[in-house]
Symmetry: C2
Subunit: 483 residues, 2 copies
Amino acid sequence: MSQALLLSDPESLRFHAAEQHILGRLASGEFPPGARLPSLRAVSRTLAVSIATATRAYLELERKGLIEARPRSGYFVRRAVGALPEPRLAPARPAPPIAVNRSGLIAAALSALGDASLLPLGVVCPSPEVLPGPQLARIMAGVLRGGAGMDLNYTPIAGLMDLRRQVAFSRQALGEAAAPEDVLVTSGAMEALYIALRVLTRPGDSVAIPTPTYYCFLQLLETMGVRAVEVRSHPGRGVDPGELAGVLDRHEVAACVLCPNFNNPDGSLMPEEAKAEVVRLLAERRIPLVEDDVYGDLPFGPGRPGTCKQHDREGLVLSCSSFSKTLAPGWRVGWILPGRFMAEALRVKSSTNVSTAAPVQMALAEYLAGGRFERHLKTLRQVNQRSVASLRHCLSAEFPPGTRASDPQGGSHLWVELPPGGDGVDLFLKARAAGIGIVPGNVFSTRDEFRNFIRLSSGGLWNEKLREGVRELGRLAAAAALG
Amino acid sequence: MSQALLLSDPESLRFHAAEQHILGRLASGEFPPGARLPSLRAVSRTLAVSIATATRAYLELERKGLIEARPRSGYFVRRAVGALPEPRLAPARPAPPIAVNRSGLIAAALSALGDASLLPLGVVCPSPEVLPGPQLARIMAGVLRGGAGMDLNYTPIAGLMDLRRQVAFSRQALGEAAAPEDVLVTSGAMEALYIALRVLTRPGDSVAIPTPTYYCFLQLLETMGVRAVEVRSHPGRGVDPGELAGVLDRHEVAACVLCPNFNNPDGSLMPEEAKAEVVRLLAERRIPLVEDDVYGDLPFGPGRPGTCKQHDREGLVLSCSSFSKTLAPGWRVGWILPGRFMAEALRVKSSTNVSTAAPVQMALAEYLAGGRFERHLKTLRQVNQRSVASLRHCLSAEFPPGTRASDPQGGSHLWVELPPGGDGVDLFLKARAAGIGIVPGNVFSTRDEFRNFIRLSSGGLWNEKLREGVRELGRLAAAAALG
């Protein structure tokens, strides 16, 4: 981390506190754009800091373009804090199938993600601090001690029946027709997506995917020799059924993959009627839909969003999810409900790694049976909502004017559009050199159209270190914009 | 399990004990073929059973073809117990590449393996009774309690460095050039094989494999659309380098896959000079070798067999193994040393399931660092050797004349050739109906040439239930031979 992130001297601490205080009051709406700010003397008195410190704080906010000094009149609010506009929609254009070739860049981004020395602003995973680690550890100890060595045996290929039952219960609660026998336990949602694609495609086939989409998924297509037909994801509402239908009219695809709930990276949420419509139009064309629902359990509001699988009458929706965003990323436990493709899915699973690790399945089944998952989810949603709001607010204050960001209604990630001319890869490399992990936007599509984007997530946390990391990112982005 | 396996009534118990006593004396060499057996009166006295019980024991041994009654002379030994000849070598024939199509049968065999209600004579995995389960459970509890939530995070794609280091140490001890950075941790050896094949082949390619070979591996080829070029495995010494060279001269292959140490299912062990020769002739042709070494740590004798990887100077040997046959099958932890293909292997791993489950990696790294693995292996080898010897002995006594079996020098599995006309699939189905799990021979090749074979393993155990299971199998095999 750069020197700028070290707040060791008392004057810097005081200055920083003053700036944050003013930012907070700007964000609260107390001072709308155009309003006059308190005088330097008033700030000095209220915060018990020197006039010099108050002046430095105002100058810093002026530098960021948030406020302006008017001669002999004082300081005025120039633009609203916290009011980042949404990223712009990519222009509609023909999207012929394209061979995916993103591996080099994705490998660089992934290796940064695995680097524990970096400030974690790039990982869309809950931090251990917001997960029930001690509880899971106690349960694991108990099931291994009391299991008579059951953990040493392979579970059935489809997984431990106790866990399949728990997953089926939770899907039934969503209105999906799901028996325990319909569930295949996987090593995370990535393996669920992998199984779905192995079952549905052959090399040379094309698959319809949203753009932007999860980069590991693009890497999977690339290693499998499957081409992508990209359908743009609208900020806020995701893939439009009409646009999808148009693409399907023009191109033959073996499957369609969507993340309707809080798509990674843009956080978009497909309206319920759009989900139903997509299922209908795909079923009509006999095209299987692979639904990635890993963020579905993490809405900010009270209602859990629905799924495409709910509307599936043909067994053509393959629903994929995991516990990686809610309980234990490192435990690698997910599932697929492969619909009519169960026999083929079992063949792929058994010839990939036989079955998922028994100890983690046993402990999760026990945790879920204990009935404390819902309460934990409720807390996690609040934690995510607060950290995303803080991240957005900090962005609006620290990033150069012209920055845009998604305003997600769930999940924990932000999709950030840099001002015109901004370069996400350049920022990624500079951030890494400064000890900060982020993900550059153009790994999320097969083309360079998201070159001026980055994805940020703070994994449900918000603290001084993360705030300083975002400040530093803002400085780097501003310097790049000037240079 | 059928009625025949229930030994509840005292007379059956006495009769059974008498039969076993005589079998033991036959196997000890005390009574060679042609020798006269003790009189019924002598048996009755020695074992304190009635003359009727002694008669019943002799009649049963006669029924099995082990002894014969000669009028007015008593009972004589007809054939030696424990002297099963080796299975015969399949005839050499041209082996054009063949599309693999074994899934239906393999699925049936696999579902039987996952059925805990069956007597486990089909699973080549150590039983929990012979594994350090309580110790592993204590270590797992410790690492999760003391790990500050580290288990909840993804490990790097290549695995936990502590575990990669332990694996590298153990491979260096074999004379392999292996740094921790050369190791990629996988979800079991099956995933290691899967990664190797994803890296090395495209659909339509051919791969040279031994016949017989591990059926999950055939299933992998089938799901990937890769064809098999079969090279016969000789009883005892496995694939012959000269025969392999001949096959490679006739067919273009993208890779070769071998299990040189105690091949599954035939238990063959390639001589060290054959391993060196195979590496040489493949390197000459620039053909990568995938080496499955899962049984290499389990020799019966004092010396650990070498590997092909030892002889690799080109980075063309991809070495695959796991802890599934030595420590914890259900934990699903293995590894691949992919040689020059590390970058491609990491791409496949990350787009299959990102990384292997952290808790099991952490606990195994800690167990290995504790230094008790070698002592455990020593015990496990003895346990395997005893159980395989008992199984062979029991086979020789209980199976119809003409039965043959491998005489492995390591591992825990036996490859059994039924008498001419015997049908392994028929026996598999009848055994399953009688509550006994075995694996039919023809799932181990693409053709029907091992139709009269079965694979047996007792997972390092030997007890009365297993003995009764083998007796029942022998009865079923004999009845089929008669019918």
